[in-house]
């Protein structure tokens, strides 16, 4: 075993933290309050190379390994970037662009990837439906082949980047008589007739990410927009799980480190009963809880990343364990961080209540904690 990061990786992480603190973090609170997507910061992520870290240089990417890519997510969280922007980045780069990289034709890659990697275009992925969440096979959206076109009908919900996306990877049934085997994946561009996004949903957390429904009403797309072959969609969606359990968890790990640093700074300065509150054991206890969570969750995310770098098939048991831990065990530290700040922690001026709200997505998004438990209990 060897848990070491390379010097280059560690330097890169420092660079991202420096960049994010300077360019993104000062804007986070304002955009969260307004529930607005920060296009400028998103483009800056593109300019810095973060949106395309693991993509081949041919398409404007950096060719980085998965561990480095996960580290970028952790660094953004550690710098104080909000969960909304990191979620938007995740949905864009891993759920949409990566699926195009893996399954699209070369022509499609050339068409979409450079724009997605630079941040000029924004991507999303449409899988979940009002009546088909964890039970993906129940999806009702259909894609009917008519001549050289597919006609999509149905709707999607809880789609991160939905209202702002230029391109979507959409899953639909090409064979409604089948369950998982009837699901196929398609590329749908914004402006396609019959395709519309709903208004942004009002959410508890990750408010800067824009989440909405997607509607398909006799939406015609060229047959070449089918990704791979008919019936391969479910497996494609499963491949994104590797990113869900590593790169998309990493910002939560980073956020814990941000909370720890913020709480320590505050506890050193804030005085009650004639001494800094950091001198009280109850406060130290809370800081310790945050640190322990950060240390415990870190290795889980990086192990998934390392295995992916080795070219191993995803270990669904370990992936579910990582997701479950970050989802269910993050609530305590996030709550502790808010409480350390007392009344200020409850106010928007300080970041803790936002981080607490953002962290509540962890046990829900990308497969709820109950689904992870179901996966684990079935595998064992």
């Amino acid at each position: 075993m060897d848990f070491a990061f390379t010097k280059e990786q560690l330097m890169f992480k420092k660079e991202i933290i420096r960049f994010a603190k300077k360019e993104i973090v000062p804007r986070v609170q304002e955009y969260d309050l307004n529930e607005a997507f920060d296009f400028e910061s998103f483009r800056k992520l593109g300019d810095f190379g973060i949106l395309g870290l693991h993509f081949p240089e041919t398409y404007g990417g950096s060719g980085a390994d998965v561990v480095t890519t996960v580290m970028a997510g952790e660094a953004l969280g550690e710098a104080g970037v909000d969960g909304g922007l990191t979620l938007a980045y995740g949905a864009h780069s891993f759920l949409c662009a990566d699926t195009i990289l893996r399954h699209a034709t070369e022509e499609q890659r050339q068409r979409y990837l450079p724009k997605l990697i630079s941040g000029e275009w924004i991507g999303c992925m449409g899988l979940t439906e009002p009546d088909a969440g964890s039970d993906v096979a129940s999806m009702k959206t259909t894609a009917e082949k008519k001549g050289d076109k597919y006609v999509l009908n149905g709707s999607k919900i809880f789609i991160t980047n939905g209202p702002i996306a230029d391109v979507a990877v959409v899953y639909a049934k090409t064979d409604p008589s089948q369950k998982h085997a009837g699901i196929s994946a398609f590329i749908v561009e914004k402006g396609t007739k019959g395709f519309a996004a709903g208004a942004p949903l009002i959410k508890m957390g990750v408010r800067t990410s824009q989440t909405s429904e997607l509607f398909f009403n006799n939406c015609e797309i060229p047959e070449e927009n089918l990704l791979g072959k008919e019936g391969e969609g479910f497996n494609m969606s499963l491949q994104t799980v590797e990113w869900d359990r590593s790169a998309l968890l990493a910002p939560f790990v980073g956020a814990a480190k941000y909370m720890l640093n913020s709480c320590a700074d505050y506890a050193r300065k804030r005085e009650q009963f004639g001494r800094p509150i950091g001198k009280f054991q109850a406060v130290k206890h809370k800081l310790a809880n945050i640190r322990i969570f950060a240390e415990a969750s870190q290795s889980l995310a990086y192990k998934i990343a390392w295995c992916k770098d080795q070219g191993r098939p995803l270990n669904h048991l370990e992936a579910a364990v990582a997701k479950l831990f970050v989802g269910d065990w993050s609530i305590g530290p996030a709550n502790d961080a808010m409480v350390v700040f007392g009344g200020y922690g409850f106010c928007h001026e300080y970041n803790m209540e936002r981080i607490f709200r953002d962290s509540r997505l962890a046990p829900i998004g990308g497969g709820t904690s109950d689904i992870q438990k179901m996966i684990i209990s079935k595998i064992i």
Binding site: H285, L287, I292
Partner: protein
């Protein structure tokens, strides 16, 4: 980066399991049995001496990564027999490590060689009446008297004291930290009867008293002046307890999982019920997270010892508390079977509390982790 143990390490884990399984059968290493506890531990040491286990983390062994390999092996042993594990570790990686790290060549030859061959049981006594070495200085004291040193003091909760051939007593001498190595029959040494304890029934624990106990100068070990001996020993204890926590979690989780797959209710195995299956999922999550954190801590201790302190405290708190949770849930899954004295889960549950209070307690651990975050100390 590499998250896998090597084939060689896995082979060692299997070997330990096989060598110890017979000895540990029917919980015979984990019973309070004053007539046989010493012999049991000696047999365990003899078995382990046939593998690299005892040397790991103390001496370089080809193909192994010191403390990291040991942590994986420790988990295996602690799952097979919690009591044997604790006794073996107190002997090897407290007493033995102190001699290995701070002793001269004569002292190593006298104590370390037989210890690693499985021919000597050691103990290391550090806790004192206040139980508060975190804040208070050690009061056990040695006074030079010509060629010998006279020691006075009292120690509590000394693992192996009733069965040890030699006891290393932590104290001070000449205003410096010192370890006094005392043979079991030395005049002035009183080993109190083994205590009745909640868990670790097969590991005799007792207090000792030293009243003008005289030992020759060559039986005193002085750690280097820049070493905080008490802090170092606490760190070793915490490392041992990490392995203990992993072993308890492993034993409890695996027993509960196997039971849930074989025990049927309502026409199906109880694992098919979400109340049971989801409990196991939580247990496995705590166990696997504990493993990774403990392995990373051991790796850090092996590669960058100076950076390992805070991480070790984090791992100690997490693994200790997780062990109790895993054991508690396992007991519920086993139902009435789990409540019967002597089964591995009930045993692990009783042992788990010790892992939280021994070494750096989880409370003190959190204070120290908080202090580190605040930059107050460490």
């Amino acid at each position: 980066m590499n998250y896998d143990f090597s084939e060689k390490e896995f082979t060692l884990f299997v070997d330990i399991n096989e060598k110890m399984a017979g000895l540990a059968a029917n919980g015979q290493l984990d019973r309070k049995d004053p007539a046989h506890n010493k012999e049991n531990i000696k047999q365990a040491l003899k078995q382990l001496a046939q593998t690299p286990y005892l040397k790991l983390g103390l001496q370089p062994v080809d193909g192994y990564q010191g403390q990291l390999s040991w942590m994986g092996a420790a988990e295996t042993l602690a799952a097979v027999s919690p009591s044997a594990y604790l006794a073996v570790e107190a002997s090897t990686r407290l007493f033995g490590r102190a001699v290995n790290e701070w002793g001269d060549s004569n002292q190593k030859s006298k104590w370390l060689t037989p210890l690693l061959e499985g021919n000597l049981i050691g103990a290391l006594a550090i806790s004192e009446e206040t139980l508060n070495i975190e804040n208070d200085p050690l009061t056990a004291q040695g006074e030079r008297q010509g060629e010998s040193v006279a020691i006075n003091g009292a120690k509590q909760y000394v693992i192996n004291a009733p069965i040890a051939d030699w006891i290393a007593v932590a104290g001070t001498c000449d205003d410096a930290y010192a370890l006094f190595l005392i043979e079991k029959e030395a005049s002035g040494l009183t080993v109190e009867p083994a205590m009745e304890t909640l868990g670790y029934d097969g590991t005799p624990i007792s207090g000792i008293r030293l009243e003008d106990c005289r030992i020759p100068n060559e039986q005193v070990i002085f750690p280097p002046a820049d070493i905080d001996m008490a802090e170092a020993i606490r760190m070793w204890e915490n490392q041992i307890l990490l392995g203990a926590g992993l072993g308890l979690s492993k034993a409890a989780y695996e027993t509960a999982r196997d039971h849930a797959k074989s025990h049927r209710s309502g026409g199906k195995p109880i694992i098919a019920y979400q109340e049971v299956g989801f409990k196991l999922a939580d247990m496995l999550t705590l166990f696997q997270t504990s493993q990774l954190l403990a392995y990373r801590t051991a790796w850090t201790a092996e590669t960058s010892p100076k950076e390992a302190g805070e991480l070790l405290l984090c791992a100690k708190v997490f693994c200790a508390e997780s062990a109790e949770q895993v054991c508690s849930e396992a007991l519920k899954i086993l139902g009435g079977n789990g409540y019967i004295t002597g089964n591995s889960v009930e045993r692990a549950y009783r042992c788990a509390k010790y892992v939280q209070i021994a070494g750096t307690s989880t409370e003190i651990g959190r204070v120290k982790i908080g202090d580190a975050a605040l930059g107050y100390r460490n």
